[in-house]
């Protein structure tokens, strides 16, 4: 190819380049602001967000996480500047605040936050020095899920620690925090003391967990894997998340969900804004936060999840059956939940959990 350049051609090219450059601010003014949301895949489905994105002035890049720990590790390792909104667990917000990764929520820009359930308004979690860093966004419980066709009755936490009727057919999540919380619930350690257990109580917990290990088929790591274990009959009862109950019931299996009287583990994820997001972008982020706490998103989440959002914004749109499913028909149930917190001696908890698994 013969490519020649002369003075006139060069001037034309330079002029075209300058004109294009001059148009850039104009283009930017009409371009959508792209927000990056680090979140769980099931919270960012296109139809959940369509109503917010239809205006066209905001586009959304979804950055999916596999675990809360992974999210924290990414931000802690310097990833905060590339994200505009994150989804930490309510119990983990403290980690981010201590690492100086978050900015406080400007409630003036999030009017739907006024509809937060009282439990979330009152909680100290997600807050520091009177400022909120993580708004409770959606929540639920982690119950016992079981194959009702293969078990005699509704189990409670003791099924994981006593007797051998279901030995080798039980599964527990491979997660120190919840594993130890369940042992504490079984041992009757009060909720307000659970996260500050002393050496003696931790020794009792370890003894119970060692007994538990002998009854387990396996520790599960992904909810999809646990669903398979239920479906194939390898496991008949597990400390679980809710999805296997609905997924397998929909496929015709007779499943049960038990909420032991000793207490059920409640979880809540928040939405939080990393430090460094500012100006017009910050306004759009808060606009997205407001949408996520609002009625359109709440309704989609209640049917699609099914999960409850942190506010009552969508309550009027839900039939009783759906309210029952997401535990908002009778909100007093929240009082029986043990909300996950970050234990003061969490490293000791993790070490104990590994000792049990390695025994």
């Amino acid at each position: 190819m013969n490519f020649q350049i002369n003075r006139r051609g060069l001037l034309k090219t330079a002029a075209a380049g300058a004109a294009f450059g001059a148009l850039q601010p104009f283009n930017r003014a009409f371009a959508a602001t792209d927000l990056v949301w680090m979140t769980w895949e099931n919270l960012a489905k296109d139809d959940y967000l369509a109503a917010f994105l239809k205006g066209g002035d905001v586009s959304l890049t979804k950055n999916f996480i596999g675990t809360d720990d992974e999210q924290f590790a990414k931000l802690r390792a310097g990833g905060a500047s590339s994200v505009d909104l994150i989804t930490p667990g309510l119990d983990k917000v403290e980690y981010y605040v201590a690492s100086d990764l978050l900015q406080p929520i400007d409630f003036a820009k999030v009017p739907n936050a006024a509809l937060l359930y009282d439990t979330f308004k009152k909680t100290d979690l997600g807050k520091k020095d009177g400022k909120t860093y993580g708004i409770p966004f959606y929540w639920g419980i982690n119950p016992i899920v079981y194959r009702a066709d293969l078990m005699d009755g509704e189990p409670d936490w003791s099924v994981f620690f006593e007797g051998d009727k279901y030995k080798g057919k039980l599964a527990m999540r491979d997660y120190a925090l919840e594993g130890i919380m369940i042992a504490a619930l079984y041992l009757g350690i009060p909720k307000d003391k659970m996260f500050d257990m002393d050496d003696k109580e931790l020794a009792e917990v370890k003894k119970a967990l060692l007994a538990q290990k002998k009854l387990l088929r396996t520790y599960w790591n992904s909810i999809g894997d646990l669903t398979n274990l239920f479906a194939s009959g390898e496991v008949v009862c597990a400390f679980s998340w809710v999805p296997p109950y609905y997924d397998l019931s929909a496929r015709g299996l007779k499943m049960g969900m038990a909420k032991p009287k000793a207490g059920v583990i409640g979880w809540c994820d928040t939405i939080a804004v990393p430090k460094g997001v500012e100006g017009e972008k910050l306004d759009k982020v808060f606009s997205l936060v407001n949408y996520l706490l609002g009625p359109e998103y709440g309704e989609k989440l209640a049917f699609g999840g099914p999960y409850a959002q942190g506010t009552s914004a969508a309550l009027d749109k839900l039939p009783d059956e759906q309210k029952e499913k997401i535990f908002v028909k009778d909100l007093s149930i929240m009082d029986s939940f043990v909300w996950k917190k970050n234990p003061a001696r969490y490293n000791d908890w993790v070490a104990l959990w590994n000792e049990v698994k390695a025994s």
Binding site: T67, D69, E70, F72, A73, R76, Y95, A98, S99, G168, D174, Y175, A176, L177, K213, L216, R217, T218, Y219, N221, D225, N228, S232, G233, E234, Y346, N347, V350, A351, W353, N354, E355, K357, A358
Partner: protein
Amino acid sequence: MARSRTGFWLSVPVYAAVVALCVAPLLILLAYSFFQVSFVAVLKEPTLKNYVRIVGSDTYRWLILKAFGSGLMVAAITAVIGYPVAWFIAKRVVAAKSAFLTLLLVPLYTGDLVRIFAWRMLLGAEGVLNTFLMAFGAIREPIGALLFSSLATHIVLTYNYLPFMVLGLWLAFEALDDRLVEAAADLGAGAVSTFRRVTLPLTVPGLVAGSMMVFVMVVGDYLTPQLVGGASGITIISAINDLFGTAFDWPLGSAIAWTMLAILALAFAGAAIVINRSSLGKALAAGEA
């Protein structure tokens, strides 16, 4: 002179890549192993506490031992299975050699998870093997220990890493000159003697290479024990993962990682010295064996 300078400049990118991608991350990990953690802050005050914790912990000592034990066991099993397979492909297959090698590698294309779940379908309580045994009346109840056990872990690890052992051995057999075997027979050596004094020494490099590959991969594999090992599926690698993720104890995680690295380096160095001092090693070095 000019030529050697060109060689130097050409090698710079290679050294830079090794330093940036291999040496530097390891040195950062080493530095972290001497730090401490307080909640979510890493205290950069050098201390040996993490190493003291590892030495004093029954759990970490046992998990490190378990990892190396599994590595040795799977390397030994794959060697026993892989040796005749490699010999067969190299010395007995002529026309379909490529087809055999491709077949050997096909499972590797499917990905770890697919292979692990396929094994679950085979070994599970309602799996193919238990169903087959029950249908023929060999057992009344499914054998639970076939899956979610140490046995299952080692079966799947052996299956996963056998191709790496066979490939190393196959290359060694391909390089083995058949005339040497014939000469040994002509000189009166029996089959066992020929194998012990000619075939085995000449294929030892392949055996060592394959064993090292399998050993290192088994030690580093935590997905297989986690998914088919059941309640005892914890490995030292998953413990490191817990420390980096859940516990935010990067210093202790780094210290365990470096302890593993140091033991591996010592083990390999020790093996190299033993091989070099043995008559076999000397013969190999001199190109006589």
